[in-house]
C-alpha cells in the first residue's frame, strides 16, 4: 500500500535492534552519554514532539559514524545527532570551540609565528594556561604549525610546470596539509606529477567539519557554498577533485547535503580520496608505478572511522599491498578516540584516551615501524599515545615509488 516507507529524516527504519550501541566507542566509556539509539532515532521522536527533549549529552557523540556503518537498517544515526545539536542546541560556541574549529583562521595566524607558537604550545606553563582558561587539555600534544604554508610553497615552486601535463586534477588540500604539514601536500604533488597528472589548486575554504562539530553552522554553510562553486569551475575544465583528508572528503560528500542542507549532487561523484583515485588508475592500467627495488617497511594500517563510513579503506590497503617491500598488518577496526577537536577538549580527554586503548594495544602488539593512516587527527592521537610514528599513505607511496622512472613511464 505504501511504495516505500522511508521518510526524509529516515529514522523510521530503526528496528531498535540496538546493534549501534554495541559499536559506539563513547557509550562504552562515558556513562553520561545515552548512546546512538537514544540520542538518535529515539530522541528524535521526542524532539519532534517538544524541543525540551533535546538532551545536552548529545555533545558527547564524537561523530565517528561507527553506528551508521553498523546499522542494518541504514539509519543515519550520527547525522540525526549532529542535526539535533544544530537545530536544538542552545549553547553558543565557546571561545575555545571557535578557536579549535576555525582551522582556516587560526592556521595563517599561527603559521606567521610558527616557531614561537610551536615552542609555546609545547611548554608546560602555556599548556596549563590553555587548560585553565580555555579548557584545552594540558596532557594533549598540540599540532605543530608550519612557517611556510603548502599553498605558498606550491605557488613558488610547483605551480609553473603544471599546465605542461596531459592530464589534470584539482587538489583539495585541506587545512592540515596547508598549515600544519605541507610535506604531505608536497608528497601528493610529487606522486601525481610522477603519474602524469598536472596538479591545480582551487579557491578552497576549510571543508567545515570542525565548524559543524562546534555549532558554527552559518560559517560552515558559507564555506561549503564557496567550495562547491570552486569544484564546479574545476569540473567545467574537466578536472576531477582529489583529496587527501578522510574527514574533509566525508564532509564534502556526505555532510554538506545531510547537515548543512547544501546540495552537492552534481559534484559529489567527482570527489575522490587520493588512495581511491590512484588504486583505480593503477588497477585499470591508466598509470603504471615503478617501485624502488630495495624499499622495505613493516607497517600497520589503521582505518579511520570516517574512512570506514565512506567504505574507502579497501582502496588504501590494496594500494599499499601493491608495494613489493611492504609488510602490512591490517589493524582491527577501532576508534582512536580523538575525533577531530573532541579529544582536545578538557572534558573529553579521559574518555578519548579510554576509547583509543584497544587500538593502542593492537598497535603495540603489531610492533610496526610506522602506522599507515589517512587521517591527520588519528595521527596526532596515535603518535601521542603510542610513540609510533604515523604516515599518510601518500607519503608512503611517494617514498616507495621510484619517482623518476615512474615519471618517465607515465609522462612520455
Amino acid at each position: 500500500m505504501q511504495e516505500r516507507n522511508i521518510s526524509a529524516s529516515n529514522f523510521e527504519q530503526c528496528q531498535k535492534c540496538s546493534i549501534c550501541e554495541t559499536v559506539c566507542p563513547v557509550m562504552a566509556n562515558n556513562p553520561a552519554y545515552g548512546g546512538p539509539k537514544k540520542s538518535g532515532p529515539d530522541g528524535e521522536r521526542y524532539r519532534l514532539k517538544n524541543g525540551i527533549f533535546f538532551d545536552d549529552s548529545l555533545k558527547y557523540c564524537l561523530n565517528c559514524k561507527r553506528c551508521e556503518v553498523a546499522c542494518p537498517s541504514g539509519v543515519k544515526i550520527a547525522d540525526l545527532i549532529q542535526r539535533a545539536r544544530i537545530d536544538y542546541g542552545t549553547h553558543s560556541p565557546k571561545l575555545r570551540d571557535m578557536m579549535l574549529a576555525s582551522t582556516d583562521q587560526m592556521g595563517p595566524l599561527a603559521g606567521a609565528f610558527a616557531p614561537i607558537v610551536n615552542y609555546s604550545l609545547s611548554l608546560k606553563p602555556v599548556k596549563g594556561l590553555l587548560d585553565a582558561t580555555l579548557g584545552i587539555d594540558k596532557r594533549r600534544t598540540m599540532p605543530k604549525y608550519s612557517s611556510e604554508t603548502f599553498v605558498h610553497w606550491f605557488k613558488k615552486n610547483a605551480a609553473a610546470g603544471q599546465d605542461d601535463f596531459k592530464k589534470h586534477i584539482s587538489y583539495f588540500h585541506g587545512c592540515y596539509a596547508n598549515y600544519n604539514y605541507p610535506a604531505l601536500g608536497k608528497d601528493f604533488v610529487a606522486v601525481m606529477n610522477a603519474f602524469g597528472y598536472g596538479v591545480h589548486l582551487m579557491d578552497e575554504r576549510c571543508c567545515g567539519v570542525a565548524k559543524i562539530a562546534n555549532g558554527m553552522i552559518p560559517a560552515a554553510t558559507r564555506d561549503a557554498k564557496i567550495n562547491l562553486e570552486a569544484f564546479r569551475k574545476s569540473l567545467s575544465k574537466g578536472r576531477e577533485i582529489v583529496t587527501v583528508s578522510t574527514t574533509c572528503t566525508m564532509t564534502l560528500i556526505e555532510e554538506y547535503p545531510e547537515l548543512l542542507k547544501v546540495d552537492n549532487s552534481d559534484v559529489k561523484e567527482h570527489i575522490s580520496l587520493v588512495e581511491q583515485f590512484l588504486y583505480k588508475a593503477i588497477a585499470s592500467g591508466e598509470v603504471k608505478p615503478v617501485w624502488k627495488k630495495d624499499w622495505k617497511a613493516k607497517a600497520a594500517y589503521h582505518c579511520p572511522c570516517h574512512q570506514e563510513r565512506l567504505g574507502l579503506g579497501i582502496f588504501t590497503t590494496e594500494l599499499l599491498k601493491m608495494i613489493p617491500g611492504m609488510e602490512l598488518t591490517e589493524l582491527e577496526s577501532n576508534c582512536c578516540g580523538i575525533a577531530g577537536t573532541y579529544g582536545f577538549k578538557k572534558e573529553n580527554f579521559k574518555v578519548s584516551q579510554m576509547i583509543g586503548r584497544p587500538l593502542f594495544d593492537s598497535i603495540a602488539a603489531a610492533a610496526p615501524e610506522f602506522v599507515a593512516c589517512e587521517c591527520e587527527t588519528c595521527k596526532w592521537q596515535i603518535e601521542m599515545s603510542t610513540g609510533v610514528p604515523v604516515k599518510n599513505p601518500v607519503s608512503i607511496i611517494a617514498d616507495a615509488l621510484d619517482l623518476e622512472k615512474t615519471s618517465e613511464l607515465n609522462c612520455g
Partner: protein, 542 residues
C-alpha cells in the same frame, strides 16, 4: 454472596463518560461505585483520534454540537492542562475540493458558521499555512486557523477516575456487569463478576447509571428498556512519529480520513465510518480497504504520510443513538442522549447517558449527575468545569520537571509530560529507578512503579494506557520483558512475568498485522525472533 448497599449510585462503564460521571457524582458528595469489565478507557474512549475539537467540524451542519464543543474545549484547556496540547488546527481547501463544491465559497460559509458558534476562525494564505505547518499538502488553495488541539484520552480518563477515587468513589475494574437486581419496576442494584478471580458479587444503590457506550445497548435491554443504538466503526492509523505539529482537517463536508492529529509522540489519521453488527463490537479488526482509504485521504492532507512508517491500525465503535423523537428510528442524533428511564420507560432507579463524544464527556457527566441528583433529591452544584483534574494544576513539562532533583533526565521529562504535576510523586530513589524501561517512549522504572502503585494497573496494556510503555516504534519488542518483570514483582507474583508479556505481545501484534509491510513487517519479524519460545532452527541443522 456479599451484600453491599452502601452506595448512592452505581455507574456501569469505565470509559470517559463513566469516569466523568463518577467524578461529578463523587464531587457532589454521593457515594459512588464504578464497575468496568476491562480496564478504564478500553472501548471507544481509547480508540479515537484524541482530537480536542474546536467544534469547527460541526459548525456548518450542526451549530448546537459546535457550540458545545468550543465551550468544552475551553473548559478542558483549563481543567485538564496535563491531558491536552494546544496544537492549533487548520482546515485546508484543496484544488479538488473546488470541483466538488467545497471551494473558497464554502470556506467563507464555514468561517461565518464558526464565528456564529463562538469559534475563533480566520482565513490565512496558503503560504502562511505552509509556514505554520510545513508538512501540509503544499497544493492547498486556502486554509482556516481554528483552536483545535489534541487530548490524550487515556490520561483524561485516568485523571477523572483518580479524582473520583480521591472523592471517595470505589472503582472496580475487571468487574463485569451481569444482571440487574430488580424488584417490580425498580432497579435496586447490579450483579457483577470479578473477571480475574471468578467471584460474583451484588451491589445495591438507589440509582444505576448506564454509561457503557455501545455496550449500553445490551445493558439497557437487560433492564427491559430499548435504546435504538447503531454501532458505527471508525478505523484509524498511527504513524511512527509526529509528522505534523498542527491538527490538519479538510474544509468540506465531513468525510472519511480527513483529520490528522499529532498526539504525544505520534500522528494519527482517521476515521472511517461503517455500521457493524453488535457481535463485532468486542473484536474490531481493521480491513485492508480501510487502511487503503485512510492512507489515500491522509496523503491528501499531508503527502509525507505516503512514506512514513505506520506503527499500527485500530478501530473503535461510536455509540450512535436513534433520535427518540423520530418513531421510525431512522434519524440519528449525534448529540448527547441522557435518558431517565423512569419517565421514558417506567423503570425506576435507572439512567442511561450515551451518544455524544469524547469532547463533551464532561457535559454528559454533568447531565447524568443532574439526573441522578434529581432522583436522590440532592441539591449540589456541578463543579467539574472549574476544578482542575489531578495532575493538571500545571501542564507544562518545563515547570513540572523542576520537581525532580538536579537536571531532569529524558525519562523524567517524559513522565512530566504524561503524569502532569503528579509526576512529582514518582520516586527516583535509586539509579535503577531513573533507568528507562521503554526507550521509545522514555518510560522509567520509577514511573512504572508509580503507575502500578497508584493508578490501578493489572496488565501491561493497563500500564501502557497510564505510561505509554510499549507504544513506540518497536511496539514492545525491546521493553516488554523488563516491564513485565517490574509489573509482576509489583503485583506480588514474579511468576506472572511470562504471561503478562505474552498477553501484551498478542495485543500489539493485532494492531500491527493490518499494516504489516515495510519496516513494520521487519519489526514483526524481529519481534518474533526475539520472543518465539521455540528456536526457529537448531544450529546443528544449519
Amino acid at each position: 454472596m456479599p451484600l453491599n448497599n452502601d452506595f448512592d449510585v452505581i455507574i456501569i462503564g469505565g470509559g470517559i463518560t463513566g469516569a466523568g460521571t463518577a467524578r461529578d457524582c463523587a464531587m457532589r458528595g454521593l457515594k459512588v461505585l464504578l464497575v468496568e469489565r476491562h480496564d478504564i478507557a478500553t472501548g471507544a474512549t481509547g480508540r479515537n483520534h484524541g482530537l480536542l475539537h474546536s467544534g469547527a467540524r460541526y459548525a456548518v451542519k450542526d451549530s448546537e454540537s459546535a457550540e458545545e464543543c468550543i465551550r468544552e474545549n475551553k473548559i478542558l484547556r483549563s481543567i485538564a492542562a496535563a491531558c491536552v496540547e494546544d496544537t492549533g488546527g487548520l482546515f485546508i481547501t484543496l484544488p479538488e475540493d473546488e470541483d466538488a463544491g467545497f471551494g473558497l465559497d464554502y470556506q467563507k460559509k464555514f468561517i461565518e458558521a464558526c464565528i456564529k458558534a463562538g469559534i475563533e476562525a480566520r482565513a490565512i494564505s496558503p503560504a502562511e499555512a505552509r509556514a505554520m505547518e510545513p508538512s501540509v499538502n503544499p497544493s492547498l488553495i486556502g486554509a482556516v486557523v481554528v483552536p483545535d488541539g489534541s487530548v490524550d484520552p487515556f490520561r483524561l480518563c485516568a485523571a477523572n477516575v483518580t479524582d473520583a477515587a480521591m472523592h471517595g468513589a470505589k472503582i472496580l475494574s475487571y468487574t463485569e456487569f451481569l444482571d440487574f437486581i430488580r424488584e417490580g419496576d425498580t432497579i435496586l442494584g447490579v450483579r457483577v463478576l470479578d473477571t480475574r478471580t471468578g467471584q460474583k458479587a451484588e451491589y445495591r444503590a438507589p440509582v444505576t447509571v448506564n454509561a457503557a457506550g455501545i455496550w449500553g445497548h445490551g445493558i439497557a435491554e437487560k433492564a427491559g428498556v430499548h435504546i435504538g443504538m447503531y454501532p458505527a466503526k471508525g478505523a484509524l492509523l498511527v504513524f511512527g512519529h509526529r509528522v505534523n505539529n498542527v491538527v490538519i482537517n479538510r474544509c468540506r463536508k465531513s468525510a472519511d480520513g480527513d483529520i490528522l492529529v499529532p498526539g504525544d509522540s505520534v500522528t494519527v489519521i482517521g476515521t472511517t465510518s461503517t455500521k457493524v453488527p453488535f457481535e463485532e463490537c468486542d473484536n474490531m479488526e481493521v480491513t485492508p480497504d480501510e487502511v487503503r482509504l485512510l492512507l489515500r485521504e491522509g496523503c491528501a492532507l499531508c503527502p509525507a504520510l505516503a512514506d512514513t512508517r505506520i506503527l499500527r491500525a485500530y478501530a473503535g465503535v461510536r455509540p450512535l443513538v436513534a433520535d427518540d423523537s423520530d418513531p421510525t428510528g431512522r434519524s440519528i442524533s449525534r448529540g448527547i442522549v441522557c435518558l431517565d428511564h423512569e419517565t421514558r420507560d417506567g423503570v425506576k432507579g435507572f439512567v442511561s447517558i450515551t451518544g455524544g463524544k469524547l469532547m463533551t464527556y464532561r457535559l454528559m457527566a454533568e447531565l447524568a449527575t443532574d439526573a441522578v441528583c434529581r432522583k436522590l433529591a440532592v441539591h449540589k452544584r456541578c463543579q467539574t468545569a472549574e476544578t482542575p483534574l489531578p495532575g493538571s494544576a500545571d501542564g507544562r513539562i518545563e515547570t513540572v520537571s523542576k520537581h525532580f532533583e538536579g537536571i531532569a533526565t529524558l525519562g523524567q521529562k517524559g513522565a512530566a509530560g504524561r503524569q502532569g504535576d503528579l509526576a512529582g510523586k514518582i520516586r527516583f530513589d535509586s539509579e535503577e529507578d531513573k533507568q528507562l524501561v521503554c526507550e521509545c517512549e522514555q518510560v522509567t522504572l520509577g514511573e512504572i512503579k508509580y503507575a502500578v502503585a497508584e493508578l490501578g494497573v493489572h496488565s501491561l496494556s493497563d500500564l501502557r494506557r497510564r505510561t505509554r510503555v510499549g507504544m513506540g516504534t518497536c511496539q514492545g519488542t525491546l521493553c516488554i520483558r523488563k516491564a513485565a518483570k517490574a509489573l509482576a514483582i509489583a503485583l506480588g507474583d514474579p511468576s506472572l512475568e511470562g504471561k503478562l508479556a505474552a498477553d501484551y505481545l498478542d495485543e500489539r501484534w493485532k494492531g500491527m498485522r493490518p499494516v504489516g509491510w515495510g519496516d513494520t513487517l521487519r519489526e514483526m519479524e524481529f519481534m518474533q525472533r526475539v520472543y518465539k519460545y521455540e528456536k526457529p532452527y537448531s544450529y546443528d541443522e544449519v
